[in-house]
């Protein structure tokens, strides 16, 4: 029991420490979290978990499948039935191990979740409206466009709704997506710390042209962004 208590305490402190590590790591560049970097970190953390469990179980299965091969068709298994104490122990111990692992993963997941959901107050807000089958973007100055250009290093929050069916605003390189629905407003935010050309794609089935419902997203230096926005506003 004391060993178990110790083990649990160990688990909890590991959780707290790694949560701390996540919080520190995510803060770079402009001082705000970079959720897609936290995502990669968490992903690798979880993968290690999967590799360890998978490896142990697979090796155990292979060893038993080889070792306990019957030498004659009349041979029978020799395993004993468990007594009550063993039965309960073999249920409680794995339950405790799995639960500890679950809470550990949940704590890490929760930390990254906060990165994803806590929008910096200074974030630029862009309104997204989805239609079958295109997105429309409204910038803070009222300019509407059908492609996205974002200033480098400036957090952006998208407030999204749909005019017809359910769509989904998917940004694969930023490791985030969220459904865009009629009658509801959803949000996601990103921290574009790299200058890049990428795209937005629809990620919820919305009919015939679902597979081609996409538009470009460019992250450009602030000056270039200002020029672009002025041009779009003029064309408006």
């Amino acid at each position: 029991m004391r060993k178990l208590t110790l083990a649990m305490t160990g688990m909890v402190s590991t959780v707290l420490l790694s949560a701390q590590a996540f919080a520190n790591e995510a803060v770079v560049g402009n001082g705000f979290a970079v959720p897609n970097q936290s995502w990669e970190h968490l992903w690798h953390e979880v993968l290690i978990d999967l590799y360890v469990i998978g490896f142990i179980m697979l090796v155990a299965a292979v060893i038993m499948l080889v070792k306990y091969k019957a030498s004659s068709p009349d041979q029978v298994g020799t395993a004993k039935e468990l007594d009550s104490v063993q039965s309960i122990a073999y249920a409680l111990i794995p339950a405790a191990i799995f639960m500890a692992d679950d809470f550990y993963l949940a704590a890490n997941g929760w930390t990254v979740w906060n990165d994803y959901r806590r929008v910096p107050e200074s974030a630029m807000e862009i309104k997204v409206t989805a239609y079958q089958w295109y997105f429309e973007f409204e910038y803070p100055d009222g300019t509407t466009t059908d492609t996205l250009v974002l200033p480098h290093n400036k957090p952006v929050v998208f407030r999204m709704t749909s005019e017809d069916v359910i769509h989904d605003f998917g940004l694969p390189v930023y490791r985030v997506k969220e459904d865009v629905m009629p009658g509801r407003i959803t949000y996601i935010w990103i921290n574009p710390v790299d200058i890049r050309e990428t795209f937005v794609q629809c990620a919820e089935f919305c009919g015939a042209d679902h597979s081609v419902m996409a538009t470009t997203l460019s992250v450009v230096p602030q000056a270039q962004y200002n020029l672009w926005l002025a041009k779009m506003a003029a064309e408006g």
Binding site: W39, W43, G54, M57, A61, M64, L65, Y68, K69, A70, P73, D74, Q75, V76, G77, T78, A79, E81, L82, S87, Y90, A91, P94, A95, M99, D102, F103, L105, A106, G109, W110, V112, W113, D115, D164, V165, I166, D168, G170, P172, V173, R175, V176, K177, E178, M181, P182, G183, R184, Y187, Q201, A203, E204, F205, G207, A208, D209, H210, S211, A214
Partner: protein, 543 residues
Amino acid sequence: MSTPTTAGHHATPAWKEWILTTDHKRIGVMYLVGSMAAFGVAGLMAMIIRLEQMNLGMQIVSSPTQYNGFLYFHGAAMILAFLIPGLTGFAANYFLPLMIGARDVAFPRINAFSIWLFYFAIILALMAFVVPDGPDIMWTGYPPYSVTTAANTSMYVFTVHLLGFSSILGAVNFLVTVIYMRAPGMGWNQLNIFVWTTIAAFVLQLVFIPVLAAAVTLLLFDKYLGTHFYDPSAGGDVLLYQNLFWFYSHPAVYVIFLPAVGILFDVMATMAKNRVFNYKAAVYPGIWGIVAIAGIVWIHHLYVTGMPDWIRLGHMVTTLLISVPVGILTLSLWGTLYKGAITYNTAMMYACSCLYLILLGGLTGIPLAIPSITLHLSETSYVHAHFHFIMALFSAFALFSGIYYWFPKMTGRFADGGLATLSFWLNFVGVNVTFWPLFMIGKEGMPRRYWNYEMFADYQVMGHSFEWFHHIATYGSWIVAAGMLLQTINFIYAAFAGKPASLNPWNSQSLEWTHTESPPGPGNFGDTDVVVDENWSPYDYSK
């Protein structure tokens, strides 16, 4: 056609005897034939989907709508017409009464009605290919799309209704059968694990199907009667449907998973001539733990729908906790091999492959339980590969294991042999070749349900384009197709000309092997009723 018998009556022709049968074994076989037919057509759809994704641009379908129709049929048929009826229809019908020493189910005529409903549902589902406006709404049928689409949503709704009725009637029937018709002396802790998993699956069907029926009925009303349950412009809510739908459809995963695990336990204990490790833990915290948790995890299907944070995080915890009952069940499965005396045959090879599939499918689900990870992975081919491994492949391979295991009981002949071994390896290698590439590109964002992925044209994973991975996956699907085709030929050949088997060729201790003919005649157990003593166990090999 009918020939007069000595008594002067006309003997019933064989086809009529089958169609009008109330015998649980024949009904079981009819479920098997119907579900395998659905599997064949849905598998064909899968081949077309893979061919279409092989390269950018339109490859084989004539329009995106046609592609969406194929996706709809593939999903709906595989889940509703193959996996659920194959496991709870065929396997439960044929073997559950035999395993508990019952002469039939409690309500044989209701059972016959269930199979009729099932066949009508299959016919209705197949009509999607005949009518000009077959459903294109995926098996999930989310509104508002399913309401605003020009296609025929009512066919989807009525197919779900028919199958739902069929399953509810089956559930009542089998629960009553197990509660009241066990052989005298048979206590609850002497049941085969397959019996436990089946009744757990039926409890889930009974509790949750009405919710799905309500969800799709409201969909029908919205589309054809002008109501606004899911229409936000008139005070409805689009997410109401998704909540109701997944409140059933997540437990439905266990309706498929549990009987598959049950078959696996029975095959492995028999082939390893061993007791089930920690039987009570497998049954109570394991199987019933899954049932208990089944109804409180559905939000993980709605992680990207903008649900409040506290619900998403709450369901992250409950979803992760699924690993507790599943872990206990897995430990029992592994422990059943410990100090066994394992004989290898086709049934056992499929069972061994299931150990790999449950690990791979189960573990790849752990990242998806975490909403911050699913914010990216949702609706990608990673999810698609994950649920194919755990739900489709694990359960289908367990079902195949069961078919090989029980084949001598159903036909008096073995289905094992060169063709069986060859088709097993083709299937096993093929599914890995098909779905591993989808994990890899899915992690980088390859979307599900796309026929084209032009926007990802510049993406590289390990130095290769998405197209390259789709090529591999498509070749994999051809390997599986060859395996399945050979296996079907093997089943048909073996049923008529396979090697004759003795009554209990695997030396099993389970009642369906020790107390019946192959195949069992009407009434199952001849003239003497089955009685078991308190020390009897279907897994007792040590004496």
